[in-house]
Amino acid sequence: MSVPVAQMWTVATYVLGQRLRGRKRYPLVLMLEPLFRCNLACAGCGKIQYPAHVLKRHLSVEDCLRAVDECGTPMVSIPGGEPLMYPEIGRLVSELVARRKYVYLCTNAILLEEKLDAGLFTPSKYLSFSVHMDGLREEHDEAVCREGVYDDAVDAIREALRRGFRVTTNTTLFEGVDPERVRKFFDTMMDLGVEGMMMSPGYSYSKAPDQDHFLRRKRTHELFRAILDRPKRHWKFNQSPIFLQFLMGKHDFSCTPWGNPTYNMFGWQKPCYLLQEGYAKTFAELMETTEWDRYGHKSGNEKCRDCMVHCGYEPTAVNHTFGSLRGFRDTVVATVTGRP
């Protein structure tokens, strides 16, 4: 695992603090969506299909910071849309860093070099660029429905690393992907020098234009076993090894939808980052009024049946780590041996 020790320590003390206070449900990573606008239209994306006047809007930095303070998570992920199209992204990130939040800025990297040149960001242990990379050149350009994006993203990663920024990759895998190509992709990313990689199976958003390539549960286990059964020593993942084990079918977890609460221009999204079943005005209202039992793999909810996405299950994996001695031992063993 590649998460820096200081970050692991912050997360561990936060989680243990929540448990000591007896909180049954607590958030871990705020998913902050300042806008839905994007400069790509990826096949598996269900986030950007809105009327033009909605796409033109964005949250104010003050709204974003209010949400951050309300839920109090130690980590903030900024997906979108494309956050680098947010006019106040530099100020937002510096405010979050000043609050000592670990920020993952999730970007397709098309604008990254331009924004680095403009001096919008300063390297910090609190800031990581999490670059969307869905595979090697052919697979990535196909997933994002535009040629040349892979090469642009690789150039931007190199430049960000050269300037001393933390860079990770985030990869969504869909049906039909070749495990050997994914392994080669991991080699390529590690050779580039990224700090670590994150991956997840895609979620079948009902609004996504490509409905034929989402993974079902059994296929997900088979695919991730084929990818991860013989991990290479130099591969580093910026996510919980227990989550990777879950993807391989070694754990039967329920999701933790409140673990990665989502805030955007509509409010606090019920129940999770993936589903839009309504919006709450405050974080407290989200926690109190969402009928959590209606969601998750075991609830029988059709929309949750095949979901194994990181934003629902990574917090479960973290809870597993800190919830029992066995969970802690599993995590330590996987971290030390490098075998998920």
């Binding site: 299909q49 809105y50 006047h53 429905c145 309504g278």
Partner: protein, 108 residues
């Protein structure tokens, strides 16, 4: 209960009672285009219907009006029907179009 067409874009449902209205509100909430909420008194609100609550003491829908900043809230009790007037932005065939373009480029 009211039966929606395969594509609700352009649909102007005839709402016969509370069950129909509840169904139309859910369809409008799920719709990724603008709608026109028509009031019982003939008033109209146009915009993106992003939220609704049937469980609130006074059930409501909320819209983002293209011209305004703050969301507009309309009581369900005041609604006669909802017309699906805007384009369905999720109905595009962008992935299919990309595959076609790629195949054509390979053949060329």
């Amino acid at each position: 209960m009211i039966a929606p067409p395969d594509s609700v874009e352009g649909w102007e449902p005839d709402v016969a009672g509370p069950a129909d209205l509840a169904r139309v509100i859910e369809l409008a909430f799920d719709y990724r285009g603008d709608v026109t909420v028509v009031g019982r008194d003939g008033s109209e609100w146009f915009g993106y219907l992003f939220n609704r609550s049937a469980a609130a003491p006074d059930p409501y829908v909320e819209l983002l009006d293209p011209a305004g900043d703050a969301p507009v809230r309309v009581r369900c009790a005041d609604i006669r029907t909802i017309r699906f007037t805007g384009r369905d932005t999720a109905a595009g065939k962008s992935y299919a179009a990309w595959l076609e373009r790629k195949a054509a480029a390979k053949d060329a």
